[in-house]
Symmetry: C2
């Protein structure tokens, strides 16, 4: 690739604004963010460190375990990279040598302090005693919050593919199918649409009261509602969509509760304008619940999304970040009825200069979907 | 559940042998290991900390984010647990209070130093200034290396289901199918067999030279070999099986190279007896390559497996751990031919008092599978 998908210039501006000379990525998410390369080892063999040094100016420099080099050369817009040999070389010592080569022996180096493990940080500090190693989580959070058009396109396509997978699987489902069969059908459609991995929460009736249950052998039973909350990784970026259905037909109470939830979601989304703060959106949502005689129980009603599932800013009472055009949010109110059944809607929205754009509109969500 | 699946007594013996009063788990793997509960949030929302305090004696005590409590109560053998409210309470402060309640304010607390992030460790150290916080990675590694019969049964069933998924998908595949179609077929069979998540590496011809490529739109082409390396999570435990096939028919050179690789694998497995060290097995494997005019290129020829994919001990030149009955290893030699095609076999073996038992024997691997 010739150009990065993300805005690396914005990251470097944040690095400079934080008074840092460079940041170090160790997480898979920030590796993908900087290099446009998704490395499976980050998921399945995390101790096989693959890192990037991002200087305040100039090209980022990846340091990866030797077997991963071919993939980075194939997928990344970055042409220069360094390697280490697993079990023969200590990656943090090689990293310190690289930082020294870059003239950063006495530099201010930002780290992912909510991710970098204690031992690795100590190894780095020992190998580079003149450097100042400091938390830079906010640098990444702020840079990643506003997406480029390329990122918006990838995330929108991912969300739409996920919504369509749910819709098609719901349309094919029949009473008597099991949660597991329906979940596997959604998964198959997600993978066919290009997801490299996926997670899924799908539960019917009382099972839905568990936060993240694994789909079970329970059959879809008339009169029960069904909640699916599912996401996949597409081109390294996440999707996250939730939908609720009813088996057979809805009672008036079920329909009413669902429709109020959907109104709450739309009222919250409509308020997502530039300059509004994340906490303001949370307050709008809380009031929308109250107006309809319902209660917002969760501390969070939505989150940004990108290479990770829950990104900064988060729609909660304590997050005062102002919304900006190019931010993408998942808004996801939920409610539990008197039978203990959970109702959940989650859509992706794009903040623009004008009205917010709802990305996931392929499925009619005005009324409960009937299986 | 009434009894833990893993040997928590063995963990506590390791805690005492290390001179510790307790260990703290933060990783999803060690949470599952201690509690028998698989929490999806550990995978998709890792910042939602779910931890366990394991004292040197007495019952382990989980501390989880409130929405996860129901699942722990449902799945775990541990009856008592504590919760915190996300964004309202600081989990490391609540954790420090719990440690104090347990009389550990001045205790020696072991941490996962290759996993626990810098900021969390500092928060804990600040909130519990009298405690000594020290690396205890080896405590977990040693305790988890020898599996209980329950763990052996789960891991064996997982490996067999994975091998059968490959075999059935290979049997259904035809020249002209794409890598992606075949990979999705393997995945569908894995999920149907009960996997809650999966990863897959599947590549044909020259694509196989990348370490962990994502399955592509490349078609299976006569004369090319095809490598699949795939694993799933079953009941919280991992599988990992690799197989190689040829499309159309094998040349003499392809068949010869494959059969030598398979002899190397069997020769290595046959040496897996109690008292033999991991590095000895690596040396056996290296010699088996040399005897056949081939070269062992990797620094690793296999690894333990359990709740994580690569566990201690690892079959490499520097690992002097002695094999014991109840250890399970994936042995996985590989070789590249003159066309750049990768051949890879990976089987699960159980170390016993007598001969090692190969678990994955449902597919005939003596000759290249022909698609």
């Amino acid at each position: 690739m010739s150009a990065p998908r993300a805005d690396i210039g914005a990251l470097q501006a944040q690095i400079r604004a934080a008074g840092l000379d460079a940041v170090l990525t160790v997480s898979g998410a920030n590796f993908t963010y900087v290099t446009d390369t998704l490395i499976l080892s980050h998921e399945i063999i995390p101790e096989r460190l693959c890192m990037v040094i991002v200087p305040a100016e100039g090209a980022p420099l990846p340091l990866v375990c030797l077997p991963e080099a071919k993939q980075v050369r194939q997928d990344s817009w970055i042409s220069d990279l360094r390697t280490y040999v697993e079990f023969k070389e200590d990656p943090m010592v090689v990293l310190a040598q690289l930082l020294a080569e870059l003239g950063l022996s006495n530099g201010r180096i930002g780290i992912e302090s909510l991710f970098l493990a204690v031992t690795y940080e100590r190894q780095l500090a020992t190998a580079l005693p003149g450097a100042t190693i400091t938390a830079a989580d906010g640098v990444f959070d702020r840079a990643r919050a506003v997406k480029t058009q390329t990122e918006i396109d990838i995330l929108s396509a991912a969300a739409r593919a996920t919504e369509i997978a749910i819709y098609e699987a719901f349309s094919a489902a029949r009473p008597g199918d099991t949660e597991k069969q329906l979940a596997d059908d959604v998964t198959a459609r997600l993978l066919k649409a290009g997801a490299t991995s996926r997670w899924i929460v799908l539960a019917a009736g009382a099972n839905s009261a568990i936060n993240h249950p694994y789909p079970s052998a329970k059959q879809l039973t008339k009169g029960e509602t069904l909640r699916v909350d599912v996401g996949g990784v597409f081109d390294g970026y996440q999707s996250d969509v939730a939908r609720t259905a009813v088996v057979g037909q809805a009672t008036d109470e079920q329909q009413s509760r669902y429709q109020r939830l959907r109104e709450i979601e739309r009222e919250t989304i409509a308020a997502a304008r530039p300059g509004v703060r994340a906490c303001d959106l949370y307050a709008v949502c809380r009031k929308a619940y109250e107006k309809r005689g319902m209660e917002l129980c969760g501390a969070v009603v939505g989150h940004s999304i990108g290479i990770t599932l829950h990104e900064h800013p988060v729609l909660r009472a304590e997050d005062e970040t102002e919304l900006k055009p190019g931010m993408l949010f998942n808004v996801e109110p939920a409610t539990i009825d008197s039978q203990g059944f959970l109702y959940h809607i989650e859509d992706l929205l794009l903040v623009t200069e004008g009205e917010p754009v709802i990305v996931t509109t392929n499925m009619d969500t005005e009324r409960l979907f009937v299986i």
